[in-house]
Symmetry: D2
Subunit: 366 residues, 4 copies
């Protein structure tokens, strides 16, 4: 079954493997007339790279995005936008024991059992590099949303046991974790160093905020805004949990505590005194910021010796070689923005047909 | 945009409002040759009713499901299975202040802003009764899955601040909360009584377990098993969070703690020493039980006075009359099973085309 | 696979068999705010019945449509519109030899081989009654289109060897064939009588015209207006050919003959001197009437003895009993309108997201 | 709306314009384990080029296909197969009067009105080069189908007024028109020369035959085999009509003439004495060859002077410069095969879930 396409109107199909020719995304259904260029997309691509904030030093200038179609004279034409990154290092390495052994915490066994064999080079399709294509497509979605006054911002709330508070959003570009909390970032750095030295890894939590979305976006009952966002976030490798607003903590709240009371703001806007809903009621945006939290598991590739099995049904030991991020959370921050943007773009387009008045406006019927 | 259809191959479309003629689901894409009858489906329908376990007393014999098509001589024919419940009480009540006032914590405002007006009778499409159709379709999916050795079981892990442990799964039919923990159920009962008397409400957490699924089910990269299940669960009204296996707690674990080591079991089966993955790796089933936890917010309909606004843009006070469940979690237990079953059925069918060997088996090609 | 759902945004799912409980359609994605009632839909339902024009005498008052959901206070609410007809005669007749024998020209064998068994009562899902649901959903689409100035009209151009000309469109309600040509209708009547007496049947050709569609509707390259309409028409039982504008005859024309020259009409409208394109260029509407012709095969149920085989793999003879329409074309006229309306409605909604200016109008962005 | 994706399980998304960076297709949902390489695909690509049969002389070695992903060690991996052709000549030419003038018979006006502006270089997305991507994806589908004993062959039955008969299928590679009739090919050549010298163009008819498909493929009622094929064929530029089996001529036949009688063949196979159905009954394959005819209009790009309008709403004259095929039919032959293959592949996969016995075979359930 086709699992590499997502979206109802704003559709994204991704392709590519970590050690193949390259990776890419094709965006179909992006409205015509939106200004976009490679430079705009590259900024998001760069944020995904190691040290992708001011703090870090870019190790090289790789992962260059190229627009292959769908943009003419600087604007989207309404036809498919093909985006690609060529892999710089396509040589087949020595995959040695990885070829036949299923790494714990990885998709190796699933791929092997599902398809009958697998591309064992660097994780193939389940590699973290797959998110390159999401980020590229997400940048297109983000540019479209910006035309409608919608913006998206993610940051890190937790690395291992170190929890951050949303103290100063400007600080996220000042530390390698994209944390809005300098002190927490320092603690996280120490913890990461310690963990890394033990050949171990860490997980964390990212918070994603969508601002500026009008009321009523999301399609009851199965294509709700929160259900679609949950699917989008959960499709990112290593994600184990998604929650909105109060999230799991609302289980302990009472209705009188949890309900957000409405009141009339200036300019006739309906506002809420609190935002326990995380900006979504009944699966539709309620005018407040949409707030999601996404839990990432620790990187499964660790250098410690682990027990496992191989494709021949034998028990084996494995030691994973090579350089692996001891925490993937910082690099995943922009990926959560990308998935939120792709989903929000689709939802904004789906909502166009909600009522006959919208449609009459487009077709100029009085 | 059409939001009332879900599924790629096993497709379900639901319809109906709480105070209209009735509610129903049409299941398209269910394989032919599966034995099913109204009695089988009715069992799940009954579990969704108040007091739907042995403990409770059924208040009446309502919500009778009827199969309108797609079943002939006791078996599914491969054509659409139309399922419907006629609403027994269709009379328009006195909706009074509800008509023009947006209830806090409800979808009223979203519906009004999205569609330009709304069906104000009992929540319309966002009523809890909408889940009737999900449960009916879910029973069809469950019957199909049972042919392949797959079963699904949900139970309550938390009501308000009262947390249960999975002590004895048989106990879930012995208390009104479907808790596998007698002591916790007693505490929850006391808490619920107290909260209810204050005109307030409670939320909770449900755990859903899918057993017997073969390895490799789920479609990378966007139609992963966990992303699809997350969407399905999150589409249930009042759900604010979904997590798998270790869930949010994995953020604090290290890789060496979190990775589940594989080993060879008897009969050549690959087993895992732990199940922190919740049965899903890389978006595909890993052979272990699939374990999800779903957080529900407290019922937003409370009898305490609340501040809000109306359709005219005026600040208002609202007191919600009528009988409302002070906690919806127990009735939602079977709904989580239904959504899991619908999703798992779809995923099992999607996987059929994963490799050429599967296909040759079906078409008898050597 | 689910084959009973159609549409991308304006989605229709149909269900039901000729001899089951009833038949119906659920329309999801219809915009809110459109006035509709059962009376409006019933008019189309009645046209589908034998003698469904002024000429004929209605044999009874059957096939009453009921709206089960999605309409409140006379207007669509944006939620699924469930439409159903209860079969008045559900008793199982004596299906005798039909049960095990595959009727030539029918889908019996296909159903049996595909699903492993089949509902042999009156054709089951492949019965002509299945089109009842299409007509009901089509009426909803037609009402929506009427809000945008779009109308659809079909009529019969051929019955067996008798060809009609489009002389007077008003005449179509004055003869049983819906022919816009009195003389041809008389000849067709004589031919039909003669054919019917021999226990044989006739086919024919229907022309369908969509008027008032703005320029640019249709989505290159796979969801073109003509390709989507072709699929819709070809999905009607007994259809063997679909063509637009010049159709098959364009194969013989030269480019200079076939190209429609553009010129500026009054009010700044772009017009065409001819309409060989049938109103569609490059898969998009070109502002002229959209003109399609649809070929129907003769009714396969004939009373003459035929050779065939049975489910046991034995050669058999069959004589089909019972009353069968010796020509289905007249009853199919309204079905072609319904399929055109469903498709056109979907295409009008799909086009909403074509460019950023459309979207800014809906969201009030300057 | 996304119009560049097709298929339910075997999904194809195409991208690219005639004068951009290149063109490509991504195939998602192709089963794993199928041997394929660039050489296999290139054969179909070459047939699409001018002089793509033995008769013609290849003008150059262009349109080289490259597999960018989804194939590992010579076999499909089950992940997206990205295919691309780099345009060799991307320089922007002098588009002069084409930029602002709508060419009669072309999609120019539709694109302009739909998207607000258009890529005027060589037709952009509506160029014949767009079919390159279809042919590449079609070759993948063809290779998959060959594993199941299914083959597809198209040939030309008509060029302008010259009709061919299916005399000798081997002859199709011996003339530039892919006609199975030497004499007709000679007449067509003379007619084409004469027409071309007048600055005019010709249309024609292609017949496509799918052999080896098992009984019961196709999904009633909207995803029928014929309706899906009709959509696929009609989506090819310049197609104005599609018919199956007897096609439009069945309108004149009687039921007793048109019904194909069944009989038992050797090996217990059900056969038919005739094939007026074109291999499809009730939307499902009936075991006979599937036979479709597809009508193409004459190339709209002619060098004769034509009247038209421009983007400013002024009447204009246009003379189209440059080299244009005076007939596109020969190059479209392989495109019809590609669209048939893509559709048939999807239908074969959709049918996998038709009944529980199929599914039990895949999952090894007894």
């Amino acid at each position: 079954m086709a699992g590499s396409v997502t979206g109802n109107i704003f559709k994204v199909m991704t392709w590519g493997e970590s050690h193949g020719y390259g990776l890419g995304a094709v965006v179909d259904g992006c409205p015509a007339g939106i200004e976009i260029d490679e430079e705009y997309i590259q900024k998001d691509m760069d944020r995904r790279r190691p040290g992708g904030n001011k703090f870090g030093t870019k190790r090289n200038e790789g992962d260059k995005i190229k627009i292959l179609s769908g943009v003419f004279e600087g604007k989207t034409t309404g036809t498919p936008i093909s985006l690609a990154v060529i892999n710089e290092n396509q040589r087949s390495g020595d995959y040695g024991n990885i070829m036949e052994v299923f790494r714990p915490g990885h998709a190796d066994m699933g791929f092997y059992k599902k398809y009958g064999f697998r591309d064992y080079r660097g994780g193939g399709r389940s590699s973290g590099r797959e998110t390159l294509a999401r980020v590229a497509a997400g940048a297109v979605a983000r540019k479209f949303l910006s035309q409608l006054g919608i913006s998206i911002k993610s940051y890190t709330l937790q690395i291992g046991s170190v929890k951050a508070e949303k103290k100063n959003i400007e600080d996220i570009f000042e530390n390698q974790f994209f944390m809005p909390d300098k002190e927490a970032a320092e603690k996280a750095e120490a913890l990461l160093k310690e963990t890394s030295e033990k050949g171990d890894s860490l997980g964390g939590v990212v918070e994603c905020v969508i601002s500026g979305m009008p009321i009523g976006i999301g399609e009851p009952v199965f294509e709700k805004l929160d259900s679609s966002l949950a699917k989008a976030f959960m499709s990112i490798g290593a994600v184990k949990g998604v929650e909105f607003g109060g999230g799991f903590s609302v289980a302990e709240a009472s209705g009188s505590e949890n309900n957000d009371e409405f009141y009339m703001g200036e300019n006739g806007k309906i506002l809420k005194k609190t935002n326990n809903s995380g900006g979504i009621l009944g699966g539709m945006s309620d005018g407040a910021d949409i707030v999601a939290r996404i839990a990432f598991k620790p990187t499964p590739s660790i250098s410690q010796k682990q027990n496992t099995v191989d494709i021949h049904g034998e028990n084996r030991e494995i030691e994973i070689k090579g350089r692996h991020d001891p925490v993937i959370v910082p690099r995943a921050v922009v990926v959560t923005e990308a998935m939120a943007a792709i989903t929000a773009a689709d939802m904004m387009l789906m909502n166009l047909s909600a009522n006959i008045e919208n449609i009459k406006k487009v077709y100029g019927v009085v």
